[in-house]
């Protein structure tokens, strides 16, 4: 457990030194969301109707930009080899990386999401489910992204390949995340969607670190 906190601390410190990376992801998120009204026209009802889907889709796309460096930097400078020889099992290293990624990317995206809601005239009832679905959904995205990043280590054009691998896997998060907000706006209960999101998160938490560890081990051979 001690090794886990040490690794998370290092990842956070590195992210803080390169805080521009997180800022770019959030800026991409906001900018991509702002583009839709230019293409579709500023009709308020249409925008409010689209808001849940747009927030989630753009958040997913923004997150894709951040995964490539997750293991690659450590792989290229030899740190990953040293981490593999360290006292923490690789699955724990992967979990630490996913946690640090969520704190530096998932949380900023979550904080920026209500801003997009305002831009899209999202009805008041939609904000609470938006935040809760983001709280439950963004860690899942970080976990699945870790697997993708580990699988594409050493591949040419790894970033593109990574998106192709990860995007289909996060579709359930998109469906239930946007679905929860939709349900709240239309006066339906949001509990089922949020429960499913929570379930997906637990499954990802149990499976993704092992899958990442196995892929990293493969890449190091």
């Amino acid at each position: 457990m001690n090794a886990f906190t040490i690794i998370v601390g290092r990842e956070l410190r590195l992210a803080l030194r390169q805080s521009g990376d997180s800022a770019i992801i959030v800026m991409f998120f906001v900018l991509a969301a702002v583009l839709f009204p230019f293409g579709l026209g500023p009709e308020p009802n249409l925008l409010a109707r689209m808001a849940p889907g747009v927030v989630w889709v753009t958040a997913l796309l923004a997150a894709m930009l951040s995964f490539e460096r997750l293991f690659l930097a450590d792989y290229e400078d030899g740190s990953l080899e040293q981490l593999a020889l360290g006292p923490a099992p690789l699955a724990l290293v992967a979990l630490a990386k996913a946690l640090a990624h969520w704190l530096t990317t998932g949380v900023p995206l979550m904080l920026a999401a209500p801003l997009i809601g305002v831009l899209y005239h999202l009805p008041e009832d939609g904000y609470a489910p938006l935040i809760v679905s983001m709280i439950l959904g963004t860690p899942t995205i970080s976990l699945i992204g870790t697997v993708g990043a580990a699988l594409t280590l050493g591949a040419r054009r790894g970033g593109v390949l990574l998106s192709l691998l990860v995007l289909p896997l996060v579709v359930p998060v998109l469906i239930f995340g946007a679905g929860a907000i939709d349900a709240a706006i239309n006066g339906f209960p949001v509990r089922p969607q949020l429960m499913v999101l929570g379930g997906i998160l637990l499954a990802a938490l149990a499976l993704c670190p092992w899958a990442s560890a196995a892929s990293v081990r493969q890449a190091l051979e």
């Binding site: 040490i6 290092r10 590195l14 290229e76 400078d77 360290g86």
Partner: protein, 214 residues
């Protein structure tokens, strides 16, 4: 305490790198891996570290085959590779302290290691400003910052200045005097270390077999 390999064979990318390789190390001993570029020195070191797979033979410690408990094996070794695992964004101190704490060392040990390799004046400097030799010294400082019985060193003297080589050799002698073991892959004559030499050419596939994929 004994670390040994028996009849090891390694295939990389369908090419047989070496086969029938035996070695044994007891406390205080050092083993020099000699051989031309591409003869499998780094591969053998990675294999000893448990990072690379081998296709035949066995790697063992007193308490049993290394394969049975790779994490325990990793905990008793330091591997200093070509890649120095130095993060440019962190300072010299932050870089070393991370590895030291991860491997169960403390701040005092890390400070002493920096001083030993002449990096103590640079501890607050971001590692991106270091020269190649300084980066390599920082990587070598990991050896001293947290104790481990087995040192696996891949070309440890490359890019080092004369003083640093002397410091490294002194640290190595101390490590061995304290019952440590070392395996050093090098093409440079390190002087009289009282170490046995493993000539990788002896284990290369014979000329008739060379180039034949396995």
């Amino acid at each position: 305490m004994r670390f040994f390999g028996q009849d090891l064979a390694c295939v990389r990318g369908e090419r047989l790198v070496f086969s029938g390789l035996d070695f044994a190390l007891t406390p205080g001993e050092a083993l020099i891996l000699a051989g031309r570029n591409g003869s499998g020195k780094t591969t053998l070191l990675r294999l000893m570290a448990g990072l690379a797979p081998y296709q035949a033979g066995g790697l063992g410690w007193d308490d049993g085959p290394v394969r049975d408990d790779p994490e325990r094996h990793a905990a008793r070794l330091h591997y200093v590779a070509h890649l120095d695992a130095v993060k440019p964004a962190l300072t010299v101190w932050e870089n070393l302290e991370f590895w030291a704490r991860l491997r169960g060392g403390d701040s005092d040990g890390a400070r002493a290691a920096l001083a030993r390799l002449g990096l103590d004046g640079l501890s607050g400097v971001p590692a991106r400003y270091l020269s190649a030799g300084q980066r390599h010294r920082l990587s070598l400082a990991r050896l001293l910052a947290a104790p481990a019985v087995l040192w696996l060193l891949d070309e440890p003297t490359v890019a080092l200045d004369g003083e640093s080589v002397t410091a490294l050799m002194a640290a190595l002698a101390e490590h061995r005097a304290g019952g440590g073991m070392a395996v050093i892959a090098t093409n440079v004559d390190l002087g009289d270390l009282g170490a046995s030499t493993l000539d990788m050419r002896r284990f290369a596939p014979d000329p008739g077999q060379a180039g034949v994929s396995v």
